[in-house]
């Protein structure tokens, strides 16, 4: 499926989804810079650390809104399958890595790493399913 084939609703959802991901990345960089430059402490530091996660929660809400309103059953099923595959791969990597970390004292990756894995795997899975169905 190419951009020209997208319905108005699908295009709007893709735009919202992309915006929330870009906002997550932007806020992560901003918060990192803030912590580096101003060294906040106490409850404010904890509140500030929450900020980059908020657009990611928004992303999940956008995905649900899309899934509940998408009229094309086939596309909806493909998106759902891709998201579940993304979730599966992310959780497998998390579990395997956690045991390597616990038994072999390997340093853990940054937490955002798992969000990236989920998004990348889901994106590739969706591309793959849509291409193979053409």
């Amino acid at each position: 499926m190419f951009n020209k084939d997208l319905s108005k609703f699908q295009r709007r959802s893709v735009q919202l989804f992309s915006s929330s991901i870009i906002l997550t990345a932007f806020l992560t960089v901003m918060v990192r810079t803030w912590f580096k430059d101003y060294h906040p402490t106490g409850p404010f530091a904890w509140l500030l650390a929450f900020v980059p996660a908020l657009p990611f929660v928004g992303t999940i809400v956008i995905v649900f809104r899309y899934l509940s309103q998408e009229k094309d059953e086939f596309i909806r099923a493909q998106v759902l399958l891709a998201l579940l595959q993304g979730a599966f791969i992310t959780l497998v990597i998390t579990v395997v890595y956690s045991y390597l970390q616990n038994f072999l004292d390997i340093k853990g990756p940054p937490a955002m790493f798992y969000v990236d894995i989920f998004l990348i795997v889901s994106m590739f899975a969706l591309r793959f399913h849509l291409r193979s169905s053409q």
Partner: protein, 134 residues
């Protein structure tokens, strides 16, 4: 038996999951015991470290099989939605805690908690999703 799920796929899910969890306890014990008493080296270390993760990966595959086999569309939809909320919640907590670890000197949390939070959020979200359809 009243405690077993009503559908065939649901019962199969329980029959598959129970031995997998028993295997997890066994593998975890085996890995811990081996590290304490046998002090393995080389490739064995990696294999032993990954050993307890295998049944957990299997449990995810069992959930996937249940989704594929469940003929009750409503039950399947509830599970899929709760899985997505579970992952969204787990990744959000992971992102928040990762920022707190990086910036606010929060104590280190094992990566395993992402997996644990996935199941917790999945469990919590199910009654709320069901409530929407009442």
């Amino acid at each position: 038996m009243q405690c077993l799920p009503a559908t065939k796929a649901g019962r199969r899910y329980i029959y598959r999951l129970a031995p997998t969890m028993a295997l997890y306890v066994l593998f975890l014990f085996l890995a811990k015991w081996s590290f304490h008493h046998l002090h393995p080296t080389g490739l064995t270390v990696y294999l032993l470290a990954i050993l307890p993760a295998l049944p957990l990966v299997g449990s995810l595959a069992i959930v996937g099989l249940y989704i594929a086999e469940e003929s009750d569309e409503f039950e399947r939809s509830i599970l899929v939605q709760s899985m997505l909320w579970g992952l969204g919640g787990a990744l959000s907590i992971g992102t928040i805690w990762g920022s707190l670890e990086d910036f606010a000197d929060a104590p280190h949390l094992s990566t395993f908690y992402v997996f644990l939070f996935f199941w917790i959020f999945m469990g919590i979200s199910q009654p709320f999703i069901r409530m929407r359809y009442r």
